[in-house]
């Protein structure tokens, strides 16, 4: 069988699984007993991770992330997305053990819960200006509904009980994620700083303090602010009295605190 045939078959299987998950199809957990579907689940979660990364691309853009940095961000987003949903699957499995005493293996549950990330393929829509948070909340709700459907199918139990398990797992994963986020962010920032020599900005808000529009021209006695929009604010440079001479050249441009290049 040629390799591309296997590839087409894999893509088709992934799209089918994705389609079942986003439409909350009753057969979405049918792959529970098939160990070969790990790849399908991971692919769905990885694409969700990439889409979410596109949705949050403002962070990449303001930090001028390119080349290897972009690849790193891409792989990081895919991995964290897959890990998030594997953790969610394990929590669903744990709750199932406690409440239902089922014999569903943990790995099978983790594998099938990966499919609840399917709605996040639309995560790129969180980039829509002003409405991004609305899309974000709608996608979270959609993902929760997919998890409910999967839990209900996998445990073949009542809608309310599976709904409760799904909601608890959803909440616990979110809690776990928020607890771990500072640690992950610190590791990411350290890695970034060591790789590039620059600080990693979490949002564009830093510009409000650091950037300016040729502000130095406003003050013939010294700079009011920086010209270079990427450098953080610096104290005014002492300027000699001669600077006030209208024909004297403007004050020297302050050196940026960090080297803006080469970009990664």
């Amino acid at each position: 069988m040629p390799w591309w045939f296997s590839l087409v078959e894999f893509v088709t299987r992934t799209l089918n699984a994705w389609g079942q998950a986003v439409t909350l199809h009753p057969g979405v957990a049918a792959t529970l007993d098939d160990p070969g579907t790990w790849a399908t689940g991971i692919a769905v979660a990885a694409v969700a991770g990439v889409s979410l990364m596109v949705g949050r691309s403002v962070v990449l853009a303001i930090n001028r992330v390119r080349g290897p940095g972009l690849v790193y961000a891409l792989v990081f987003s895919m991995l964290t997305s897959a890990l998030y949903f594997v953790a969610q699957g394990l929590i669903v499995w744990g709750l199932g053990q406690i409440l239902l005493d089922t014999d569903v293996p943990a790995t099978a549950m983790a594998r099938v819960v990966l499919l609840s990330s399917a709605p996040l393929w639309f995560g790129f829509l969180t980039a829509v200006p002003l409405l991004g948070s609305v899309f974000d909340k709608a996608l979270s709700l959609w993902s929760l509904l997919a998890l409910w459907r999967i839990t209900s199918d996998a445990y073949a139990t009542s809608g309310w009980l599976s709904g409760g398990i799904a909601l608890a797992a959803f909440g616990l994963t979110a809690l776990l994620s928020s607890l771990l986020r500072p640690l992950v962010a610190r590791a990411r920032d350290t890695f970034w700083r060591r790789s590039t020599g620059r600080s990693l900005h979490a949002s564009a808000a830093f510009l409000l303090a650091a950037a300016d529009i040729d502000g130095s021209e406003a003050d013939i006695n010294g700079p009011d602010a920086l010209i270079d929009p990427v450098a953080p604010a610096q104290p005014p440079i002492p300027t000699p009295a001669t600077t006030a001479d209208p024909v004297a050249p403007p004050h020297p441009r302050p050196a940026p605190a960090v080297d803006p290049g080469p970009q990664s």
């Binding site: 403002v58 853009a61 200006p129 002003l130 808000a205 021209e217 406003a218 003050d219 929009p229 024909v247």
Partner: protein, 335 residues
Amino acid sequence: MIGQILQVLAIVLVAVVLSAFLAPFETLWWWATRSAAEGHHDEDRARRSLDALPSGTVEASSYLVYVSGVGSLSPDVNPHGEKPLLDSIADELDGIAIVSHVYPYDMENVGLTEGRWSSAWWRLIVRLRRSHLGGLAQVLINLRNTFRVMVSADQRYGPVYSLGIARVIWEELLRAGYRPGARKPIVLLGWSGGAQIALGAVWYLAATKAPVYLISLGGFMNGDPAVNRVRHLWHLEGSRDHVQSLAQVLPGRWPWRRHSRWQQAVAEGRITVEDIGPLKHLGRGSYLSSGVTLADGRTGRQTTIAAIADALVGEGLATRKAGAAPTDATVERPR
């Protein structure tokens, strides 16, 4: 038949959402690739700006920068609505220089029909505007620019977009003879979505230590951080302008958020909301229209000019020319 209509509506909806999704990427691309180069100091220009005023030249006491609404295609003002408005302000007031060559929907001050990869498409739209599909063409232009207003109003992208637009305004001010060292007041006059974009730019313009004012003409504005830096904001609105109700939906404007920037500025008296009469947002009977006479005998445009002149003269930013009578155009009300 209903199925086909629904299909068309679905396609339109997907196209609109995708356009909205793509809107911030122009800003992000500019930031990632162009802003640093543009931020480099232009020593020649700086030296010129520090030069003494040429002898015999009378410097304006303030500078008014016009920021167009979402129907705009290029830095050139619309000859039918905007130009007469600005001409009338210039005719009525002394001491104020008017700067209008600003395209607030592009961070490099480039219009839609020239110098961009999509220029051919926009030229086609401009041609369509003269046909029986003119309404649709205008909707497409408005939609494209509305997405830029949303970019400006979004706290994730706003700081970047506003930096680009502030630079455009700054360049045009310098070109108009503004001397940064003199720190003359800068007044931004923003119409519709242009008011939000102007408000965003206030943050960076105010960093030059010049006093910066904003006159919002039926503006669609969020509670931008720049609200904290604006010296005074006059929000002029017509009682028949329904876009104003829409602007109240923006989180930064929610009236029950007493500690929001916007509400605090209102409480401090730095924002004045003024009802200037039964004016609509667009079309006949709107702020720039001269086609309909209101109950007091004035057109929408005359009413608007009077309100702007009152604000500028009242703040000491301009003086009335001899023979120009003071007006009583506004009914101030708290908000």
